[in-house]
Amino acid sequence: MYPHSHHQQDKPILDVQKVSVRYNGHLALEDVSFHLHVGERIAVVGPNGAGKSTLFKVVAGVMPPTSGTVTVYGSGPDVHVCIAYVPQRSQVDWSFPVTVADVIMMGRIAKLGIGGWPRKRDWDIVHAALGTVDLNDLAKRQISQLSGGQQQRMFIARALAQEAELMLMDEPLTGLDVPSQEGILSLLDRLQEQNVTVMVATHDLEQATQHFDRIMLLNHTLLGFGKAEDVLAPERLLEAYGGRLRVVSPDGKVLALGDEGCCDEGEEPKHAHLAD
């Protein structure tokens, strides 16, 4: 019932080839190709409605591409349980009657099988994940009692319990205060030590530059993918954000992005600002 596909270790952890996604008549993604190395940290930037969430859903095997292929270690994503999708906090029903530990245990259920109940080893893994994200004391709390940063860390712990090797995080930093953002960013470092590959959608170009190995600039098509200094060149950013790009300092350094683009992926308009 639960597939456990063999990982061909000579194949990239993620290989996306000529992926296009069309829905309701418009093209959300067009001819996107790239591949990732194990343990890389990728920041995915682009305006609202650029197709970041769509890309994550296609990579996670939640949504099939209209054309093109996605492979994870050489086979389609829909046979893998090693891909974790960390949802935007606004997409979650926080009043659901579950505790933090309950949510993290959900990451284990593919390993338990139908009708199986958590064993000691599963609880050990859940507690280890709680420890990694520093939520031990809050394990028995209902999820709405957590702060925004704690909620985000809970989902990272769930991905750890899932033993995910590829984590897709949809704007995990949005709406968090600076200490909470730093908590998440330092967790990303720990994930890298464990060889977890992460893709993070973000609006914050400075954090993208400082904390990630490569930056992907997306606006329906892939406008750039590589080191920050190459990808975040002003002319490329202008291409991605159009007239919605707000502040570029005279030396070409991007200071702030304002984005009031429409929300065709149900995203709320957000403002991401860099400290200057």
């Binding site: 019932m1 639960y2 597939p3 859903k57 996670a60 095997g61 939640v62 829909d78 046979v79 893998h80 349980v81 891909i83 974790a84 999708y85 949802p87 979650v92 029903d93 659901f96 009657p97 579950v98 505790t99 309950d102 949510v103 245990m105 959900m106 990451g107 259920i109 593919a110 338990l112 139908i114 009708g115 109940w117 209902q142 769930r158 899932q162």
Partner: protein, 283 residues
């Protein structure tokens, strides 16, 4: 007090009715927990109404015999649940609009069918509002068997239903058989409705699915506790409702639902966690 409690029990129909009300209450409450958490109250209401033509047809075919109606209800409910589930996925019109059209149309068809029989008013009211005091021991057994089956499946698939309800995208990335599980849950709702038909009837069914579960939701943040509390409230409503029905001569289905509603209001106003009055007193 004791004689007040024991007196109705000398009648076999009261004892059968009490057993039926408690059984149905437990099954409805546990399934209803998912109805509440997934925001499917309207779907449940529609599903209950949609089975009326099936019951009516069974009623006409069997010449007014009640015994086979359970199977007609069961068959119609399962078909209707999966049918509505499939239709609501097509993006042509909004889901609640589609459900509204089907449910009213089918309900009207049911009424039209039953109206061809002479004793139509009495029979229709039994289908609509239940007739728990007319439960036979045979249908009591069917209720027990199918109710137990529903609870067993809810238990076996506990973590799958929980995950699917809380985070459908996680369920997909864990490669759970999401379509199958969704249809199984719809089928379990359908069986629950068929089992509860004689106790509360088509029109009041949604109250048994939603009200005890909503009451429990106000009191806990653990799903297993919510299920247990909902079952407790539903059983209590069944017992208290039937005694009310006996002593003040009101319709049994209505008495059960009114008791459940009263319990909800009490908890809504007075529970220490988030009760309305409590909060305004502490303000």
């Amino acid at each position: 007090m004791l004689t007040w409690l024991i007196e109705p029990l000398q009648y076999a129909f009261m004892v059968r009715g009490l057993v039926a009300a408690v059984l149905v209450g437990i099954v409805c409450a546990v399934v209803g927990t998912y109805v509440v958490l997934r925001g499917m109250a309207f779907f449940g209401d529609a599903l209950a109404h949609t089975i009326l033509p099936g019951i009516a047809l069974g009623y006409l075919v069997s010449g007014g015999a009640r015994e086979s109606l359970f199977w007609w209800a069961l068959g119609t409910a399962v078909i209707a649940a999966l049918g509505i589930g499939a239709i609501s996925k097509s993006a042509q019109i909004k889901e609640d609009t589609a459900i509204g059209i089907i449910f009213a149309g089918m309900f009207a068809l049911g009424i039209a069918l039953i109206s061809t029989v002479r004793s139509y008013a009495v029979d229709l009211s039994h289908f609509l509002f239940g007739d728990v005091l007319g439960v036979s021991s045979q249908s009591l057994w069917l209720t027990a068997i199918f109710g137990a089956l529903v609870l067993l499946l809810i238990f076996i698939f506990y973590k799958e239903f929980l995950t699917l309800s809380f985070d459908p995208i996680l369920a997909v990335t864990l490669r759970l058989p999401v379509g199958l599980l969704n249809n199984l849950l719809l089928a379990l709702m359908a069986v629950t409705i068929a089992v509860s038909l004689q106790t509360v009837g088509v029109a009041l069914m949604v109250a048994m699915l939603v009200t005890p579960a909503a009451t429990a939701y106000l009191l806990t943040y653990r799903l297993p506790v919510m299920m247990a509390l909902a079952a407790l409230f539903a059983s209590l409503s069944g017992v208290i409702g039937l005694y009310l029905s006996y002593y003040i001569s009101i319709a049994s289905g209505a008495a059960i639902v009114l008791t459940a509603t009263a319990l909800f209001l009490l908890v809504f106003l007075f529970n220490p966690r988030q009760g309305v009055l409590w909060r305004s007193a502490n303000r």
